[in-house]
């Protein structure tokens, strides 16, 4: 190895603050790295697609004759059950992705990769926000790949719907990612996260309007209906459902927006890298 002289003086020792372009460069870098990692992990990409497709091709096909769906907004006519559950499956992709991103943050925190991010001079809240946005961007790739395949299954929202659903997907992706980060903030060990996944993902998914309309739930169990109403995932599903047809569900938008802000602020305050480092002592036993 040879050493050369530093061709520039290096960072200004008295410089304070960051320019807008530095913030954008940082965001681009984090999103780009997350997308690259996702694309390199083909198994993750395939499994992220297989899960909703199994629900669509097998579950929905099987239940098509059992579960009737009446005409409810945003639908203007009777729709196939597959069409009804498509927004729920899109939200499911984001739910799993949000939790998986959080899992990777616990893993990164334990294995050290998160340190690279956290020793960046940019503000820590901004770095975590970028990380959330990056996770959301990855979920968008998955959702649009799902929509592409679903199109061949006659699930074809109006063409404008592919565009109007984008803001809804970004907002719901941020909400679910923030929730995952908030949950991961309270986890000291990677091993604990699997249990939390079971206590979060499945209850959230099944007590929502992803698989059945809420009026049906109300008929069967008024108590469950109220649980579903308080479940932010229900509102993420409804926000996506309406946006896919070029409409806005204002209640869902308010709930998802509010929850996103609350979860994000909570996650940024709660995220403490020392949890993973302190458990074993830094660097696997060293203190």
């Amino acid at each position: 190895m040879s050493s050369t002289t530093l061709d520039q003086a290096g960072p200004d020792q008295t410089r304070r603050g960051f320019s807008l372009s530095e913030y954008i460069t940082c965001l681009n870098g984090i999103v780009w790295r997350e997308a690259l990692r996702f694309l390199h992990q083909r198994e993750r990409f395939i499994s992220a697609l297989v899960r909703p497709l199994v629900w669509l091709f097998i579950f929905a096909a099987g239940f098509r004759q059992v579960l009737g769906v009446s005409i409810i907004p945003p639908y203007e006519t009777y729709v196939l059950y597959e069409v009804f559950i498509a927004p729920g499956l899109m939200a499911m992709i984001q739910l799993f992705n949000g939790m998986q991103s959080s899992l990777s943050m616990v893993y990164d925190r334990e294995m050290g990769n998160m340190r690279t991010l956290l020793v960046s001079p940019l503000p820590r809240w901004y770095l975590l926000f970028c990380k959330l946005l990056a996770g959301t961007a990855v979920s968008l790739l998955q959702v649009y790949a799902f929509l592409l395949i679903a199109w061949f299954w006659d699930i074809a929202p109006p063409p404008i719907g592919y565009l109007t659903v984008l803001p809804a997907l970004i907002l719901s992706g941020l909400m679910l990612g923030s929730l995952g980060m908030l949950i991961s903030s309270g986890i000291k060990q990677l091993e604990n996260f699997a249990g939390v996944m079971n206590f979060v993902i499945f209850p959230m998914f099944f007590s929502s309007s992803a698989l059945y309309p809420l009026w049906r739930v109300q008929e069967g169990s008024p108590m469950l209906y109220y649980v579903c109403q308080f479940n932010p995932f229900t509102h993420a599903v409804e926000l996506i459902r309406f946006a896919l047809y070029g409409q806005i569900n204002w209640v869902s938008l308010s709930v998802v927006g509010g929850c996103t802000a609350a979860f994000m602020i909570g996650a940024i305050f709660a995220y403490d890298p020392s949890r993973g480092l302190a458990r074993r002592g830094p660097a696997g036993g060293e203190t």
Partner: protein
């Protein structure tokens, strides 16, 4: 026990190692320590990992932080890099308090952690570009800096290789190159040679020492390996969370009446050589 006079001795060391014309500038730069640790303490619950640790690292100096596993070296690194919040004491980087002005401090600092923090699935260059982005360095500039540092560490032809295809020594060199990408003035390395063979260790040590003499970077090198410390270094002996000695190696040897660093360490800590192997 702290150490107040390391900055002075480090400056002297630098002056001797550089041409006389550069000495005034070096002295001026050395007036503000690259790293200043002042009465830092840290506990994990009831267990005290660091107790009133104080020392300085001057610009253009190589300071070896010597201690056994569990001495508190990595805790100190986590505090310096703001991974842990400071419970007691102060840490400054070129005068910027890490607690009050973390961005200014972190901007001037390059870090190589003990566990590998490279992304194995990405290529060598992609890892560098990611690090550059985290410092707000645009893609074009980052690529040229990446090529520059890769050439410096002899990995120019591996820019497109996946990191997982590199050897342990190459990964460490890449981590050092990555830490230098944003041109820091202070470089922290935590057990950077652990798990490497003799040649790789020597290469990395030589490279880092060259950075000190040729680029004026202040280096804090945490290690538990005595043979990585040479007489021209500054030495901080950390044991059970306390600084037992610090200053030029020659001075520590003189004060402990020891023939070498190994013997000085044993005299200071009371640790027997048999237990060092573990």
């Amino acid at each position: 026990m702290g150490c107040d006079d390391l900055a002075m001795t480090a400056t002297d060391t630098y002056s001797e190692a550089t041409p006389s014309a550069a000495a005034p500038a070096a002295r001026e730069a050395a007036a503000t320590p690259a790293l200043s640790i002042q009465t830092v303490s840290h506990s994990y619950g009831a267990r005290r990992a660091l107790i009133d640790v104080s020392f300085d690292v001057s610009p253009a100096s190589f300071t070896a932080l010597l201690g056994l596993n569990g001495a508190g070296k990595s805790t100190l690194f986590s505090l310096i890099t703001r991974l842990f919040g400071i419970q007691a004491g102060k840490i400054g980087v070129f005068g910027h308090d890490i607690g009050q002005a973390p961005s200014e401090a972190l901007r001037l600092m390059g870090v190589v952690f003990q566990p590998r923090t490279l992304d194995l699935d990405l290529s060598v260059m992609q890892n560098l570009l990611y690090h550059a982005a985290l410092h707000g360095i645009g893609r074009g500039d980052a690529r040229s800096r990446g090529n520059e540092v890769l050439a410096r560490i002899g990995l120019a032809d591996r820019a497109g290789s996946k990191v997982r295809d590199l050897s342990g020594g190459q990964m460490r060199r890449l981590e050092i190159a990555r830490a230098l990408l944003h041109r820091p003035r202070l470089l922290l390395l935590d057990e950077a040679t652990v798990g490497l063979d003799v040649k790789a260790r020597a290469d990395i040590l030589n490279h880092v020492r060259q950075l000190v003499t040729e680029q004026g970077i202040g280096v804090l090198w945490a290690t538990h390996l005595f043979d990585e410390v040479i007489p021209s270094d500054n030495l901080v002996v950390l044991h059970q969370g306390r600084v037992l000695a610090c200053g030029e190696v020659a001075r520590v040897l003189k004060e402990t009446s020891a023939a070498d660093v190994n013997a000085a360490f044993m005299r200071l800590t009371g640790v027997q050589s048999g237990s060092l192997a573990s």
